[in-house]
């Protein structure tokens, strides 16, 4: 269902130089902070919540997913080189899936693993580590699908994704409790909390809803993205 050539090309073109720098810097900061706190304070639940949830799940995860999700597609659409992928007898859904796999792998490498490491460092326990890894993975899966879909819908995918993460999930999510039913970040946290069971989430939508919502959003977004690519328009310069 994925095309190895597309995967290879996407990795090559999407993650050169500067992008890789940011993607490496973020988890480094996360793990560095975790290590520092652990060294200075020992096992501290408040510090853990601040770093793992506040920084990891709510900031690093969506940002890395945004960068990864838009790197795999948006730039190619923007400069038109996507035409070389599209003028081929390959199903558009295969193209989307191939790029999705790259985005999720990058998110897993640069967020899920570091979160696992950071949680392990800060708590030294298996349950929260497992919980936050699963939660981050679940969140990353949905975020990447969403941002890939955004790349096919608009040329301003990064700005739009940003508005979603910061304004919808961040600002409004903090103010209105109803937002949690439609917030990927909250779903990730809900899944994490159900396994880690550390009381960091007061009002939760429940892990069952969260998982189903993630599945629906992911499948729906990827299918829609493939469909949009079938109708991709190469406008001439006239």
């Amino acid at each position: 269902m994925t095309n190895p050539t597309i995967v290879r090309l996407t990795v090559r073109n999407g993650f050169g130089g500067r992008r890789a720098m940011i993607l490496v810097a973020l988890p480094l900061v996360l793990v560095g902070l975790a290590a520092t706190f652990r060294a200075l304070l020992g096992v501290d639940p408040d510090a853990t919540e601040g770093v793992i949830v506040g920084l990891g799940i709510l900031v690093v995860l969506p940002l890395v997913a945004l960068i990864a999700g838009t790197s795999v597609l948006a730039a190619e659409i923007d400069d038109g080189s996507i035409v070389y992928l599209l003028a081929k007898p390959i199903s558009r859904h295969v193209i989307v899936l191939s790029k999705y796999v790259v985005a999720v792998t990058a998110t897993a490498a640069f967020t899920v693993l570091p979160i696992a490491l950071a949680t392990a460092i800060m708590t030294g326990e298996l349950k929260p580590t497992l919980g936050y890894v699963v939660g981050a993975l679940v969140g990353g899966v949905a975020y990447c699908a969403l941002f890939i879909l955004l790349s096919t819908l608009t040329r301003h995918a990064v700005a739009t994704g940003l508005l979603y993460v910061l304004v919808w999930e961040g600002l409004l999510g903090g103010l209105l409790s109803g937002v949690r039913w439609l917030s990927v970040g909250h779903w990730a946290h809900a899944v994490a909390e159900s396994i880690a069971d550390d009381g960091t989430l007061s009002e939760s939508v429940g892990p069952a809803y969260a998982v189903i919502a993630v599945a629906v959003v992911t499948v729906g977004a990827l299918w829609l993205a493939g469909d949009r690519l079938r109708s991709f328009r190469l406008t001439g310069d006239e």
Partner: protein, 300 residues
């Protein structure tokens, strides 16, 4: 077909060159260029002078910035509260998300666009020095940010005067707040410009700026919170250096006696001066980087 010209007539005839003419008249100086570029940039910050779809986001953000101030003024006037509802100096820190999105989206629009489409070469083909261009752009961005952050403060001020608060103290608070957002605007403009100038891809610049701003604030807040709980007030205080928002807040708290938005301000006046020095270093350092980058691009 053409008849060969009569040789005798050639002596009498004259060819007038009505093509390109050199302009020898008075020229406006570089100051005019700077001013025009600056005005244009400042207007572009809010999408004025560009297509309608580029006005949507900045205007929306401006509206969101003004909303709390409007609400506060409304409440103040109607319920007749006679004390400050929200200190001027805290407004920017509270609304930092909106400000961050603004600089993340508008800095690349002002800076990366020229580099991406190589328009910069057209600018520099004129008698425009690279330095002038850079200063004009950064100043324009800073002005846009100043409008974004200063307008709500003016609104609050008007509301306070209307509801009869003491003009003397309100004015000093306002000036403190304005000074703070001035430094903040400068810092954000510099940082935003540097990041935007390093890449031609607008989307990547947006992601990089917002990542830097959000990460720096979150890390700083986390460190501050933890340090404060542990009683490490000095660490908590200096953690404010990590983010422009908390840095400016620290300056206001330590040097201008404003109300703090963070659990712990910088330790004493000395700490405040350190914060101010760091702010200056950021601004100067960014400008140096920008000038270096643009001189490289210009090949000079």
């Amino acid at each position: 077909m053409a008849i060969p010209p009569d040789p005798a007539a050639a002596r009498r005839s004259v060819i007038h060159d009505i093509g390109y003419r050199k302009y020898d008249g008075p020229r406006l100086g570089e100051a005019y260029t700077w001013r025009t570029l600056y005005e244009l940039g400042a207007r572009h910050c809010f999408g004025l002078g560009r297509a309608a779809r580029y006005k949507v986001l900045p205007m929306m953000l401006l509206a969101i910035m003004l909303l709390p101030a409007l609400i506060i003024v409304g409440v103040q006037v109607m319920v007749d509260i006679d004390e400050q509802v929200l200190p001027y100096s805290r407004y920017a820190v509270i609304m930092q998300l909106v400000i961050s999105v603004f600089v993340a989206v508008q800095a690349p629009a002002l800076i990366s666009r020229d580099l991406r489409y190589r328009v910069i070469t057209l600018y520099l083909a004129r008698p425009l020095r690279v330095d002038t261009y850079v200063y004009a752009r950064v100043a324009a961005l800073a002005t846009g940010l100043l409008v974004l952050t200063g307008l709500p403060l003016l609104l609050l001020y008007a509301g306070s005067l209307l509801s009869g608060l003491s003009p003397g103290s309100e004015t000093t608070d306002l000036l403190t707040g304005l000074l703070g957002v001035l430094i903040l605007s400068l810092m954000l403009a510099c940082v935003g410009a540097v990041v935007s100038a390093m890449t031609t891809r607008r989307g990547f610049a947006i992601a990089a700026i917002i990542t830097a701003l959000v990460m720096s604030y979150t890390v700083g807040a986390t460190v501050q919170g933890i340090a404060d709980e542990q009683g490490e007030t000095d660490v908590a205080g200096y953690a404010g250096l990590l983010s422009p928002f908390t840095l400016v807040d620290g300056i206001q708290v330590a040097l201008l006696d404003a109300e703090a938005s963070t659990p712990e301000g910088p330790p004493g006046v000395a700490g405040g001066l350190v914060f101010l020095a760091v702010a200056l270093a950021v601004v100067v350092g960014s400008m140096v980087l920008l000038l270096w980058r643009y001189r490289k691009v210009a090949g000079r």
